[in-house]
Symmetry: C2
Subunit: 492 residues, 2 copies
């Protein structure tokens, strides 16, 4: 492969940007802030989608598809939501191009083809969906309405980074309607749990579940439940959010149902989403100076087999053995690639799969054939082991599970080491400077204090953890009383 990767300790941000490109995950496109997701990166997204989609369906949700465009008049209906997204909306104003009379061979917007009403490219779909739900919900029998959409959305961000913040990104957005507030809150919390389970069990990325402070809440929500992960550079990543929307959208779009008792009531709503940003989180949780490290459950290729041979005869003998192992591994659902390209040497292949984070690499040479052995290398610790070929399948199956668990444990340890309880602002700043990570601190509950802390330190309140205990204390900045600690961090 190409030149060496920048080391994390040298320049974490540069390391990340280089890794995304070198590992063939994504690249910038000709459109400002929009990325191209390359096949290897997209294969990770497909694995994420498959698991999440299964989890959504198991919790009773169905997929549907709503328009890309939101007419301006619908977009502005829910005021807070509109205000929150207005500054980053791509807007379609015309529906035709024509030959440019002043530039031969060039096109220009046809001034005659101006839309009567501008169309906003969805930054999120509450508006268009709630306008549709109005026609779908009449009676309590129509509730709950549990729908998810896999889609692209556009937010015209000024500072973008591959996966983490792009003008267009892929995501899923769930939009549900309920008869009661209790049910809607329960749904929002359930989806926060689903996200947390996905992050921890599949991405091996530990997350803190909590609720956002007023100023960090989704525009138009009553409460935003979040999962917050910690990256290796000590910055937090908001990895998924689930919103209790109250009756805000139901009122803005006049969506009412007739209750069992015959009363007309506005419905209660939630929305929740995760996006291709998760891939950024996956990278920054596990990868190292040698390249990507992928948890087996989301790795497009779990095992790669590289033959070591000097001539065709040797290759044939190796291939025969490999085919048999491959067959057995696939039978138990393990994805295997046999890389028998003759245009690259084994060393180059080893480097490539290390860079691409394939969890297990097997090397098999003529000597191994004679001895009945295999060399197995694990990507997470870079350890190598020579094993008996007869035990290969069980060994690899166990190894994949071990790697998955090891990655999670390492990430948990890292988070523990980078979470500091502080009791005054000096300690706060010191912890932020020394270890970074999460700072658990008392806060007086005001937006003003939150803003000032952000101004002084760039740290924001990531969440009020679900499991935060009542603990009387005083705000690290103002000394005003506080009833529980919240988590601060610098964040992506």
């Amino acid at each position: 492969m190409s030149k060496k990767l920048t080391k994390r300790a040298e320049d974490y941000s540069k390391w990340y940007n280089e890794l995304v490109v070198k590992a063939d995950l994504a690249e910038n496109s000709a459109v400002r802030g929009c990325m191209v997701i390359k096949p290897y990166g997209f294969a990770i997204w497909e694995k994420m989608q498959a698991e999440l989609d299964r989890m959504f369906k198991e919790t009773g949700h169905e997929n549907a598809y709503f328009p890309l465009f939101v007419p301006k008049s619908l977009f502005e209906a829910e005021e807070k939501n509109a205000e929150g997204f207005a500054k980053e909306c791509a807007v379609v104003t015309h529906y035709r191009l024509q030959n440019d009379p002043e530039n031969e061979g060039k096109l220009r917007v046809d001034p005659e083809a101006k839309l009567e009403e501008e169309l906003v490219v969805r930054p999120t779909s509450e508006a268009i969906i709630w306008n549709t739900y109005k026609g779908w919900i009449q009676s309590y029998r129509d509730l709950p309405l549990l729908i998810n959409q896999w889609a692209n959305v556009v937010r015209w961000e000024m500072r973008t980074r591959l996966f983490l913040r792009t003008a267009e990104f892929l995501w899923q957005e769930g939009h549900t309607a309920h008869a009661t507030k209790i049910e809607a809150v329960a749904e929002a919390k359930q989806m926060q749990d689903v996200y947390a389970q996905f992050a921890e069990n599949f991405m091996a990325m530990p997350v803190i579940k909590g609720v956002k402070s007023d100023s960090e809440r989704f525009a138009g929500a009553e409460d935003t439940y979040t999962i917050e992960a910690l990256m290796q550079d000590g910055k937090a990543l908001q990895a998924g959010t689930s919103h209790f929307l109250g009756q805000n959208f139901a009122k803005a779009f006049d969506v009412k149902y007739t209750s069992k008792e015959g009363k007309q009531e506005h419905v209660w709503a939630t929305s929740w989403g995760v996006s291709t940003r998760l891939i950024g989180g996956l990278i920054m949780t596990h990868s190292d100076d040698n390249g990507l490290v992928l948890p087996p459950k989301l790795a497009p290729i779990q095992v790669v087999i590289v033959p070591i041979y000097k001539n065709d005869e040797q290759l044939d003998a190796i291939t025969e053995r490999v085919n048999s192992i491959t067959k057995d591994l696939r039978k138990i659902g393990i994805s295997v690639k046999f890389d028998n390209r003759d245009t690259f040497r084994p060393g180059a292949k080893f480097a490539e799969y290390e860079l691409k984070g394939v969890p297990v690499r097997i090397a098999l040479g003529s000597r191994d054939l004679e001895n009945g052995t295999l060399e197995v290398a694990r990507r997470d610790t870079l350890e190598k082991n020579t094993i008996n070929i007869d035990e290969a399948v069980t060994y690899i199956q166990d190894l994949l599970m071990d790697i998955q668990n090891n990655l999670f444990d390492k990430a948990i340890s890292f988070r523990k080491e980078h979470t500091t309880e502080v009791n005054d602002f000096k300690e706060f700043k010191k912890a932020l400077k020394n270890t970074g990570g999460f700072i658990s601190a008392h806060w007086d509950g005001t937006e003003e204090t939150e803003d000032r802390i952000k101004e002084y330190t760039k740290a924001t309140i990531r969440c009020i953890p679900n499991d935060a205990e009542n603990e009387p204390g005083v705000c690290v900045l103002t000394g005003n009383p506080s009833t529980r600690r919240v988590l601060f961090a610098k964040a992506y």
Copy 2:
């Protein structure tokens, strides 16, 4: 369910529009020409996607994702392609909204936030993709490049119909690059075959494989391979196309590779796509005056079980039996729904599943429990049969296969009855008027004749069938010599 469906013989178009809405497949949205795909309709699309995606991967393709937007300067690079789509492009000109000073509570486009270069919402992605491929292709080792994308595209059509022609639609677009013309042509034909196999084996929709005449070709292609299906009203539906693009895009975007011999050459390209339009074709191939008829292989629910009971005790006994059958059916991959809602009577449920085209409906009452029987109704012929409960699983498995085959056979017979060989223009017009469908006729090969026939009859050349034999004849309109027959039809 709601009022009766219009009969096909009365008004086919009205029948179609009503059916799409009543069967909960899709509906029009607040955005002109854009549809909402409802969960039941989307579930069909998901089944189509899963099969197609598998077929694409089996033929060596990988998925990726490219930006929604195409900068105008890239869009216009391949002249013919640009010309072909310029008249139906949605164009983003601004990236921000602001409060409208003249209308309180309303937003307007911020005139300061005008893009330097307008962005076209992709009507198809050749331009943005080929601009990307320029960076991916250097050597013959990088070829073939076999990529597919699942995405939404926008074509600002003036006359739209649910699924068949919408301003935004969902599709997949394959974009491949090859070292030689021969390989690229083979790829384009291979994908035509894949589409034909999918249409026939999964949709039970017979198709004619052929090549488009010059005037019906994709803008920017050298050859367009098509699959053409025949709808029940005698109109043809272009169901999928695969384009051999020659070196047009490689030249427009300067994509060259170094051959094994060290020479710089432009690469050869294909693109191919099918869309949510296929759902329209599925509906119009099989459905009847009672509602939707779905081939089992694409039905979201293959078997529905409706309990017939008078009290809870009976329901419990039925449920126990149903659970055991359901388990056995699911074990062999058959999707089953047990509809035990107590808010609807069996008759209403029967009507609902008939309208929604569930292939097999089972009714199970107390009498059946005593007799050890089940009532099985098939949606395609509406036949009912009482069978022994012990043979249920085998019976249903066979029945689903039988329904799948029967639908295909019926559609083949229909097409046979609606394909007419004609030898002069009088016969041509007569056949078009009497039976509609495909008209097999000699044509002199000129665009002028094609245009005149279209003007006189509204029929267009659907394709020159792949299996058209050399047969000297004379053009039905001009009497000029012709070497083989082509297929005409009125088309969607």
